[in-house]
């Protein structure tokens, strides 16, 4: 905790951090909604699955329509699948 560099680290105001976190969550959802929806589809049947499918369905549809799922798909096809083949 008593690191010499600590004093030199300039912080970010809370308000700006809230903006950063909000943008982060919105974009993560937009870019990964399809993958998230697909992973829930692979879950065992039950009320939890039905609920989460209904929650992630609309963002996944919007993400697919706007082609926002492409970056993840691209990285997955070019690198991810090669690593995890």
């Amino acid at each position: 905790m008593s690191n010499p560099h600590e004093e030199k680290t300039s912080g970010m105001p809370v308000r700006r951090t809230i903006v950063a976190v909000t943008v982060f969550y919105a974009l993560v959802l937009a870019l990964n909604a399809v993958a998230l929806h697909e992973s829930i589809e692979r879950q065992p049947f039950g009320p939890a699955r039905t609920f989460w499918l209904s929650v992630t369905g609309p963002p996944a549809a919007a993400s697919r329509a706007l082609r926002l799922d492409r970056p993840r798909e691209f990285v997955n096809k070019t690198l991810g699948s090669r690593i995890n083949h």
Partner: protein
């Protein structure tokens, strides 16, 4: 609730939003934070969340009683300390060591005794075991009990020693003990560091180390979801499951893989814990500092799981007498500390062996440094960092010292990971046989080597080596930092396999 899951992401967003929205109502905010932490823990088991709450109540009451007693009533004070120690160690002992004590210590003794006594005794023992095993199997280790018990112990001991005062309210202490960020796998934060932060609660006008928080969370997720998961499923797990099926070079790569996996896995948890806490305005101490760059085993323990090694030093090694009572007593103290440190990790003989290996090697290392000093007249204190390498090695010697210590630690990870002594023998046998038993080398692929090397390189993220980067990130506009972080996370998620294994240190 696991960090790298959508459920935790949702949970954290709700907590983050409420935590900063409630800044004007500190008491409500504290109550909310405690409820959130209990929900986080209770998501796995609400019964153990109640146990955590009971632990908070008892430890805070004991600390307050100790603090309220005047100096002449030292014996009453000691009684409260003993009560708190018995409570905490009893809790840990029951949940963690009952099965080991009965199944691995008492029953083998009874078996030997019954064979000597006769067939009736053997028959009785068989019946007794049949009744006992279902009871033992119902004892499920509460996640993170070793971590929060050690935090509670540090609090009551520090209050007893007068090093800290009790928390202003039970709510502050409960928030310290149950804070979700570090609840299940550390770092073990001391009361003097976190309780004041819980009492004050971060102000909305304060500035946050958001750049560092973002970096730590993302690098933690990368280390866990991409590196640690890959190393576990492709190298460590298969090799440790059946070493006889692999050639010596493959087993060796499996051991290297496990060394990097456990570092990536555990340091990832610490990084995410520190990062999420930073976003809520709380500061934790660092828990890792490039451990595989250590030049002595003593140096390694100053870099690996720092919060545990300093805890063991302050609450066990030093109270035992540390290095103040002569060479042989120091050796005994070191051995006791590391044997108990090994047992802290798990109730198995292999953990005890792991602790013994570290303890004995540290004793030898210390003796070597002292002998070297006597021969060559160096005055470096064996307790001062980085010990051996500073006294003996310089320049290129340090490079070889690093390689030597890395391999020592890798060897000790075999004891740590194996679970059974027989498996340790098989692993070492496979390495020693090299390509005599199984000649085919199948694991040394480019991807495997690259992932091991990448994992090794991630050590350079530890500590404050990248503080300039953190500073730069904190200076970015909020929307830009959020957008970059989202893109990086998307890449990480695309690189990782589906599904995330629990963190290794959850079992401790």
């Amino acid at each position: 609730m696991l960090f790298p899951t959508a459920v935790f992401a949702l949970f954290f967003f709700a907590v983050f939003a409420a935590h900063w929205s409630l800044a004007a109502w500190p008491r409500t905010r504290k109550a909310f934070l405690l409820c959130a932490s209990l929900f986080f823990y209770g998501y796995w088991s609400w019964k153990f969340a109640l146990m955590l709450l009971a632990s908070a109540l008892f430890n805070h009451a004991a600390a307050r009683r100790m603090h309220a007693l005047p100096v002449p009533e030292a014996s009453k004070k000691r009684c409260w300390l003993v009560a708190a120690l018995v409570f905490n160690l009893g809790l840990l002992g029951f949940w963690k060591y009952t099965g080991f004590l009965i199944g691995d210590v008492i029953l083998p003794i009874l078996r030997m005794a019954s064979i000597r006594i006769g067939p009736d005794a053997v028959q009785w023992l068989v019946g007794f075991q049949e009744e006992l095993f279902p009871v033992l199997s119902r004892i499920i280790l509460p996640v993170g009990i070793s971590f929060f018990t050690f935090q509670a112990l540090s609090y009551v001991i520090d209050v007893y020693r007068g090093k800290t005062v009790p928390a202003a309210s039970w709510l502050d202490f409960a928030n310290y003990l149950a804070f979700f960020s570090q609840l299940v796998a550390g770092p073990i934060v001391r009361a003097k560091d976190l309780v004041p932060q819980m009492e004050q609660m971060p102000h909305r006008a304060s500035s946050l180390d958001s750049g560092r928080a973002a970096f730590l969370i993302l690098s933690g997720l990368f280390k866990k979801t991409v590196l640690a998961n890959w190393l576990a499923s492709r190298l460590a797990d298969p090799v440790f499951a059946w070493p006889a099926a692999y050639s010596g070079p493959d087993v060796l790569l499996g051991v290297y893989g496990y060394a990097i996996q456990i570092y990536c896995d555990f340091s990832a948890y610490s990084d995410i814990a520190i990062g999420t806490a930073l976003l809520l305005g709380f500061k934790f101490p660092d828990n890792f500092n490039a451990p595989y760059l250590a030049t002595s085993l003593q140096d390694f323990w100053r870099r690996w799981h720092i919060s545990l090694s300093t805890w063991l030093r302050d609450y066990l090694y030093i109270p035992l007498g540390g290095s103040r009572r002569g060479t042989s007593r120091t050796a005994v103290n070191l051995l006791i500390t590391f044997l108990l440190g090994g047992l802290w990790h798990g109730a198995a003989w292999t953990f005890l062996l792991w602790g013994a290996f570290h303890g004995v090697y540290l004793i030898l290392e210390r003796a070597f440094v002292t002998g070297w000093q006597r021969l060559f007249g160096s005055r470096t204190d064996p307790d001062s960092a980085p010990g051996l390498s500073k006294v003996v090695f310089a320049g290129a010697g340090r490079f070889f010292a690093r390689i030597w210590v890395f391999h020592l630690v890798c060897f000790s990870w075999i004891l740590f990971r194996a679970g059974e002594v027989e498996l340790v023998r098989e692993m070492l046998g496979a390495i020693a046989a090299w390509r005599n038993a199984v000649s085919e080398v199948v694991l040394w692929e480019t991807t495997a080597v690259l992932i091991v090397i990448t994992g090794f390189i991630t050590q350079f993220f530890d500590g404050r080596r990248l503080w300039r980067l953190y500073q730069g990130m904190s200076r970015l506009p909020g929307w830009l930092l959020g957008a970059i972080a989202a893109l990086v996370l998307t890449v990480i998620l695309a690189l990782g396999p589906e599904g995330v294994a629990p963190f290794i240190y959850f079992q401790f």
